[in-house]
Amino acid sequence: MSDNNKTVVDIDRSVYDIKDVENEQDFYRMEDGFTEDIVRKISEEKHDPEWMKEFRLNSLKLYNELEMPDWGPDTDELDMNLISSYVRSKTDMKGKWEDVPEDIKNTFERLGIPEAERESLAGVGAQYDSELVYHNVKDEVADQGVVYTDMESALTGEYADMVHEYFMKLVPPTDHKYAALHGAVWSGGSFVYVPKGVKVDIPLQSYFRLNAAGAGQFEHTLIIVDEGADLHFIEGCSAPKYNVANLHAGCVELFVKKNARLRYSTIENWSKNMYNLNTKRALVEEGARMEWVSGSFGSHTSYLYPMTILKGDHSTMEYTGITFAGKGQNLDTGAKVVHQGKYTSSLISTKSISKSGGIGTYRSSVIINKEAKHAKTSVSCDSLMLDSISRADTIPGMDIRTDDADVGHEAKIGRISDEAVFYLMSRGLSEEDARAMIVSGFANPVSKELPLEYAVEMNNLIKLEMSGG
């Protein structure tokens, strides 16, 4: 295991005093949906600068005007009133540990999550704050001039102007209904700025920041990697996150400047009641490189298509992703890339596993614009169905507008082979282990892209999903 993981394991847990739940006012009236009143209140509590208050209110207007997406999995069961009340009054909506579903409690147990963190991770306890670890990392990278802070502090801190300049410019609230909602009620998240030429040699992990109020719900991540700089950012953790309100509409905006490199790794494991409608986007300048590694587990329904805009000439991107859709899950994931600059190249490779009636849909979109001379793209998606009641679909989209593009595409949908299971069993593996081994092997191209401790977590998650009915 790497050193940065060790710091997580070794820290003295006693520093996490359970804080008082923030003294939030209760609203005497329950209104339907989101109102201006609610948004003003959020803005006030957060001591937003004036422009942010206006930004939130404009976003709210857009939210009320925009239609729900009319494609992809349906979101009928999404209760916006519940979410509205949750945002309005966290104290009331906070669940009890007893209400946390058994499967989540079991997962904590089996993943070996420390007791102290469980309630907070489950979203029912008081805020658990890993301030110490966070500050250590923050100080370490600060020596290199790197800014790593929470979004709220960034809004008023030294880099306030930069935040103002970039905030929701890549994913504007006009983008879609949930982006508008995010703009209105966002809370928590990380801000990272890596100055020119700085190579950050430890991965920064949002794990430490996920426990801020409202984070993990509508959190905003803004990362700017300046010219020639290099960063690996890791989002999420394998612990399932349970929220009373069942919507996650986060937003991630990544700016990769000239000749810089950003690797953004994610493991998401939302509770099985969650609608995960997350928007992630990267803008990649000349000669820069964007790398995505993404593992999507959990959630009831997911819409997740990280998008990369290869703006500068010779910019490149690589996306490696895996999705595991189990019982009752409909995971619609994929990647989007827009080639704008000349000699840009993209490599998308995804794996999707479906089991026990789960639906995994791979949806991709590759757009190569007229200007993107000599662009190169290669897309491969590989689906594995573990039984006959599960579904795997691929919906690859390609829009190529230049005639000298180099385009490759490959899609495979398969079932787990009984003969392969028998082969492994004939060497002494139980049926369950044999299946898990085949699935881990299938996922291996993704896990080997992850830092060791996350790869181990992912394999544990796969085993858990495989053993669960």
Binding site: M425, G428, L429, S430
Partner: protein, 259 residues
């Protein structure tokens, strides 16, 4: 029906997809013995291997399999493996994302139930690979993925040597191998036979692989029946004269489902 027999197959019949293949097979193998099974294509040789190993597609419709004193007729393949049975597949399967080395370690751990001593294991693996003239880098390659026919067979014998079963069933391990590869694989088998006193059931069409081995019994399987059993010299005879004389029930186009 001696007490100390390792494998005792009595009146075994099996079917695949409701189609009866094996009929009333009787076979006794004692510890350390080497048996050869011959027969024309489609006779049911692989089916016997699969049925013994417990492939769920091959249903036992009659009879029993006693292995090392236990009735394993209805046991799952992993239980049989743990009891000490091994099958070298005629067509080994490819499993992407799992390296040969870590797979064997996994299987070894499953079978012994003890944690694997890494250094000792690595040394053992290197020695076995050396014996089979396999490049050490194969341990890091995905299990059988992109292996040539011969490499796959060597990988099977490697697994046999590492897992050290009581009975190894080798299903045409020599088919499709060049002379050198057959000799190499044969060395692996000798090692298993001599040093570990392992019992063998070798399914083969050729004598090459048997040259350096002592064969105790030869069985001929035709249309799902064992039609004759002899000693090692039977192999030579069949090689000269073929199976013609053993193809019984002239004019019979296969056996109808037995009552």
């Amino acid at each position: 029906m001696s007490e100390q027999s390792l494998l005792q197959v009595s009146g075994l019949s099996s079917a695949v997809e409701d189609l009866p293949i094996l009929h009333d097979i009787n076979l006794t193998i004692k510890a350390g013995e080497t048996h050869v099974l011959m027969g024309p294509n489609g006779a049911g040789k692989s089916t016997l291997g699969y049925t013994l190993m417990g492939n769920p597609h091959y249903k036992v419709t009659g009879g029993s399999i006693i292995f090392d004193g236990q009735d394993i007729t209805n046991d799952s393949p992993d239980k049989r493996a743990k009891a000490g049975m091994f099958l070298s597949f005629q067509n080994p399967l490819e499993v992407p994302g799992i390296s040969l080395g870590s797979f064997i370690r996994n299987a070894y751990h499953e079978q012994t139930g003890k944690p694997v001593k890494l250094l000792q294991y690595k040394k053992q693996l290197a020695e076995a690979m050396d014996l089979l003239t396999m490049d050490g880098s194969y341990a890091d390659r995905d299990l059988n993925v992109g292996f040539s026919g011969g490499e796959k067979k060597k990988a099977e014998i490697l697994q046999m040597l590492m897992l050290n079963p009581k009975l190894a069933i080798l299903d045409e391990t020599d088919s499709g191998l060049d002379v050198d590869a057959v000799r190499t694989v044969s060395k692996g088998i000798q090692e298993y036979q001599k040093k570990k006193d392992g019992a063998l059931l070798i399914i083969t069409h050729s004598t090459k692989i048997l040259e350096a081995l002592h064969v105790d019994y030869t069985h001929v399987l035709v249309k799902g029946h064992i039609v004759t059993t002899g000693d090692g010299s039977l192999v030579e005879e069949i090689n000269e004269h073929g199976f013609e004389k053993y193809v019984r029930c002239e004019g019979c186009d296969g056996c109808s489902p037995l009552k």
